[in-house]
């Protein structure tokens, strides 16, 4: 995982769990108290999203555009994507840099947590009564000690707006 240079530096800790060769790494994030994780292959970097330019007339999920080292990145709010209300006051907006069909996206989250190493075999399917809005974005659930971890489907998270029609 690359660290961002211009925005402030975030240290993503190494997983504390035992490492096995077939375990995979999942950077975790938190939104409204819920822990979620993304497959590490899809995560480019983590950065502080400062100065987001709002885009009038854009779909709701898009928070705006931001400048990441000279590249224009489309900021997508994970909260809005999950149908959650916006956070009232944010001092530092954290974003996870993703690449989707050759374009750069920043997924805005409340907090960025550590990188966990998890056994892909331990992934459980979504509970049947999970909110369909959430279920559509989730690959499945991991049971951690005292917590449940949703594994996000990055393509699904970024499939909204005009593209959904095309797909």
């Amino acid at each position: 995982m690359k660290q961002d240079n211009t925005n402030s530096r975030i240290v993503v800790g190494a997983g504390e769990m035992k490492t096995f060769a077939d375990y995979r790494e999942y950077p975790t994030v938190t939104v409204a108290g819920q822990m979620l994780a993304l497959p590490i292959e899809r995560v480019h970097d983590v950065f502080v999203a400062s100065e987001i330019t709002a885009v009038p007339l854009a779909s709701r999920e898009i928070a705006g555009l931001l400048n990441l080292r000279g590249r224009v990145v489309t900021a997508v709010s994970l909260r809005r994507r999950l149908g959650l209300p916006d956070l009232e006051k944010v001092e530092r907006r954290m974003a996870v840099g993703l690449e989707h069909r050759g374009e750069a996206f920043g997924l805005l989250v409340d907090e960025v947590g550590e990188v966990l190493k998890l056994d892909p075999d331990a992934l459980q399917p979504n509970p049947v009564h999970m909110d369909p809005e959430w279920a559509a974005l989730s690959q499945g659930v991991h049971q951690l000690d005292g917590k449940l971890l949703i594994i996000l489907d990055v393509d699904a998270v970024l499939a909204f707006g005009a593209e959904v029609r095309a797909a």
Partner: protein
């Protein structure tokens, strides 16, 4: 695919393009040995390389073509069929190359058909070369993959060698010597792969040029461009910091960095620039093929081929240009016989012209053909349900012309292989608009059609005006900006509202205003009338964008919109400013579309206002007002000079007639309706009409709205103050006859103006006053006449001489350049128009005029403001004409 093959494909593609162009030149100039030698060499190189790479199909084709060209060199007459055949062979080669690129191997297939024809043609006329070839069988065989008999017209190696020595230097020499060959023929073949040595090399300018250029992958350049853009941004950030930190030690190197960066940026930009000639390369061939196919004779003239523009832009316009040239050749240029009949040279000309103009490049595609067939387009528009019959009848030719950009529109009678498939012009327009360009049509019946395309020089960097709206910054491309106007309530420039729709008076015209904050949904209070109006022009549509603040102009690096945002047609991209902030680039085309479609709050800038010479109007912009009765009244906005609200106490009454001091003169007022009394106190709304120095104020109750609608007038017989009634935006509205009020006010007006109307199915209206032309045109159209108008006798004569067909001429007797009688006299001498019935409009009847009118066979003399008299005179004329037709 290995590198060798890839390089071969690129190179051969380029060679073939050159051969295309050269062959067309050669056909026109068959004695030019230099061209022939050049073609010969290129084809031979292709053949040689194919043999080396083991591509038998390509090789045999190239060989057969080469053989035939060898005959040309030996003096065989160059015929069109032969050139067509060679061109067809080149096309086949290109096809195979395409497959090769896709699959990595040569596709299976047979080319016997072409090869037979080529061989047949080569043997039939020129047996001369055969003996020369025979002794050198061994040498030629070396090129073949398969052992076989010598083909007819085979060229010996010695001859080839001679050809190469005589030829001015090769272009980019393929870096692949043919190793099999030297065994059989020691020195020759290597020479095809290396530049000629010594004196020969010196002769060739092309060779020198090639040495200095290298092939660079486009991705490498794109990457370089991105890096430079980022360097520029970083530099800007550093400069920003150094302004705050007072450390001299940094300043000097920073300045140096700044300069170097600027130069680097310029240099990289240059690498992206290419002459537009690259996009035109295929055109001579296209035109030549079309001429042959359509049996027309067409010259293609290209000017400004070295005008440079961005590679990206070039890619986008290449196909549209080709399509437009095809269209001109197919639809525009007439067959030779038809041209001869029309008194034009048999050879038609298509002229391409490119030049820089500010930050844009203008490309004109002009033909001297028959011009657009408006009647056919009208008919088609109705057939395709693009517009109703009433609508098209009332549309101006300029508006009709725009239909050809409508999807699925083609007026070609038959679907030829050339055009008529109804795909194209809409795509052309879309492509051009995609890169922020515009396309306009000018067409004159019998004289030809000109398309004018204006596109930005580069997509990558544009000058943009940075503005703010509700604390957010936006960039507006400078190309579209005409001027900036500061507006504040109570000042000279004030935003006014008509039924809530903001407008600005700017130099006697009403400019529709689009508040940026509103159209972007940024919210805020509606009534904000303070700020700046960015006067913007898109095509012929003009409107003002209201913003809160204007900062500066900045060269911005345009970055494409994310795919998630591309559907928002108001933005064309985004950019990063010097301070690192991302701003959105407003797309004036998108704004104009919103303004035009009424989705925005602005009103469409009326085209009739912009161009007074436009006579037939059809989506008419109307000013709707209330006066006297409950019913709505309307006048065409093009007739209105200004809207005023005056303090009623300033109205003066002279002999019972109301006057008001207006701009230093007295202006008479007329009530819009007998039932409406002009106010004595409070505020009186006025609609001001003027013509030259004269002005008149029409007192109304209130101004309701400005709307665009088609004007389908139903005439009313009983009232002279109305032309008729029409349904406007779903409401019955009376259309006011401004002509009715004028005599009430001004004797003078009658003298200073004249009107001309055209009658029967089509009428030519000659009148010096734009005002009266505008006024009479709808009246005549409402009565079913098609109206052409001319502002002077000279213009009218020119139209008639140019073959404008009309059934009746209506002329004012008092024209600006000469008297109406003079005009009629000259017209009578014209072969095309000598017999036309004429209706003359006179201010008053006098016996002398009547006598003169009779002498000149003027059918009818009608009083200037006698609308009904004019119509009945026309109706009388019409009856016998219809019988004749």
């Amino acid at each position: 695919m290995d590198d060798l093959l890839r390089e071969f494909l690129t190179e051969t593609g380029e060679h073939l393009d050159t051969v295309d162009v050269e062959l067309v030149r050669f056909e026109q100039d068959p004695n030019n040995q230099t061209i022939l030698a050049n073609i010969f060499r290129l084809v031979h190189t292709i053949k040689g390389t194919c043999g080396f790479l083991g591509l038998p199909r390509l090789e045999s084709l190239a060989h057969a073509a080469e053989t035939l060209m060898g005959k040309f060199r030996d003096g065989m007459p160059v015929t069109t069929e032969a050139v067509t055949l060679i061109l067809a062979t080149l096309d086949r080669i290109k096809e195979i190359l395409g497959e090769l690129e896709r699959l990595g191997t040569e596709p299976d297939g047979e080319d016997r058909d072409l090869i037979d024809r080529l061989e047949h043609m080569a043997t039939e006329d020129a047996p001369v070369a055969q003996p020369a070839a025979a002794p050198h069988t061994a040498g030629t065989l070396s090129y073949q993959v398969l052992e076989r008999e010598l083909r007819p017209g085979e060229v010996s190696l010695d001859e080839l060698e001679r050809a190469f020595r005589e030829t001015p230097g090769p272009g980019a020499p393929p870096a692949k010597p043919a190793p099999k060959v030297p065994a059989l023929a020691p020195q020759p073949v290597t020479s095809e792969t290396k530049p000629p040595e010594g004196a020969e090399a010196g002769e060739s300018e092309a060779a020198v040029n090639k040495v200095q250029s290298i092939r660079v992958n486009v991705d490498t350049l794109e990457h370089l461009m991105t890096m430079v853009s980022e360097l520029v941004l970083t530099r800007n950030q550093l400069l920003e910091i150094s302004r705050r930190v007072d450390d001299q030690a940094y300043k000097v190197p920073l300045q140096r960095l700044s300069h170097v960066t600027a130069e680097l940026q310029e240099g990289v930009m240059k690498t992206r620039m290419q002459p537009i000639g690259n996009a035109w390369q295929k055109l001579p061939r296209v035109v030549r093929d079309l001429s042959a196919e359509l049996s027309k004779r067409i010259d293609l003239v290209m000017q400004g081929a070295d005008t440079e523009l961005d590679r990206q832009v070039l890619d986008v316009i290449k196909d549209p240009l080709t399509h437009m040239v095809r269209n001109s050749a197919d639809h525009g240029i007439e067959a030779p016989l038809e041209r001869k009949v029309a008194g034009k040279p048999e050879r038609g000309t298509i002229r391409l012209n490119a030049y820089h103009e500010g930050g844009t490049i203008t490309i004109e595609i002009a033909d001297d053909g028959r011009g657009l067939n408006y009647a056919a387009i009208r008919k088609k528009a109705v057939e395709r349900s693009v517009a109703t019959e009433q609508e098209v009848e009332r549309m101006s030719d300029a508006q009709i012309a725009k239909f050809i950009f409508h999807p699925g529109f083609s007026t070609a009678k038959a679907v030829t292989s050339v055009s008529g498939r109804g795909v194209g012009m809409d795509v052309v327009k879309t492509n051009i608009e995609l890169i922020g360009g515009t396309v306009e049509i000018r067409s004159e019946q019998g004289r030809g059609t000109t398309f004018t395309i204006k596109i930005p020089l580069t997509l990558a960097i544009v000058a943009a005006l940075i503005v703010s709206s509700k604390d957010q910054r936006f960039a507006i491309p400078q190309v579209a900006v005409l001027e900036l106007v500061r507006v504040t309530p109570g000042s000279e420039h004030t935003i006014e509202r008509i039924n809530g729709t903001p407008v600005l008076r700017l130099r006697e015209r009403l400019l529709p205003i689009v508040p940026l904050s509103k159209i972007l949904g940024l919210g805020g209070e509606e009534t904000a009338d303070e700020g700046f109006v960015v006067v913007t022009q898109v095509g012929r549509q003009r409107f003002g964008i209201l913003v809160d603040g204007v900062f500066h102009t900045e060269e911005i690096v345009v970055k494409p919109m994310s795919s998630k945002l591309r559907h928002i047609q108001l933005f064309s991209g985004n950019t990063i400013l010097g301070d690192g902030a991302v701003v959105l680039i407003v797309d004036p085309n998108g704004l104009a579309r919103m303004v035009g479609s009424g989705a925005g709050e602005g009103q469409q800038g009326d085209e009739a206002i912009e161009s007074e010479d436009l006579i037939e109007n059809d989506l008419t912009t109307l000013l709707v007002f209330r006066g006297g009765s409950e019913s709505l009244k309307a006048v065409p906005l093009s007739l209105v000079t200004r809207l005023e609200e005056i303090d009623a106490s300033t109205i003066e009454w002279l002999g019972g007639r109301p006057l008001v001091q207006y701009r230093g003169r007295l202006m008479p007022l007329v009530s819009a309706d007998e039932a409406l009394e002009i106010r004595r106190e409070g505020i009186q709304a006025l609609v001001v009409f003027s013509d030259g120095d004269l002005a008149m104020g029409l007192a109304v109750d209130e101004i309701v709205d400005i709307v665009d609608d088609t004007l389908a007038i139903e005439l009313v017989a009983d009232r002279s103050d109305l032309i008729g009634s029409a349904v406007i935006k779903g409401r019955a509205t009376e259309i006011v006859n401004v002509a009715h009020y004028l005599p009430l006010v001004h004797e003078a007006w009658m003298r200073s103006t004249a009107d001309t109307a055209s009658v029967a199915r089509s009428v030519l209206l000659v009148d010096g006053s734009a005002f009266f032309r505008d006024m009479l045109t709808p009246v005549l159209k409402a009565s079913g006449y098609k109206v052409h108008a001319a502002a002077s006798a000279a213009e009218a004569l020119q139209l008639l001489a140019a073959g404008l067909h009309v059934d009746i001429v209506i002329t004012d007797l008092d024209l600006p350049d000469r008297s109406g009688f003079d005009f009629v006299e000259v017209m009578r001498a014209l072969p095309e128009a000598g017999d036309l019935p004429v209706i003359a409009l006179a201010v008053k009847h006098d016996p002398r005029q009547i006598a003169q009118a009779r002498k000149l066979h003027v059918t009818e003399l009608v009083a200037k403001f006698d609308r009904r008299g004019l119509l009945s005179a026309l109706a009388e004329l019409n009856t016998p004409l219809e019988v004749a037709a």
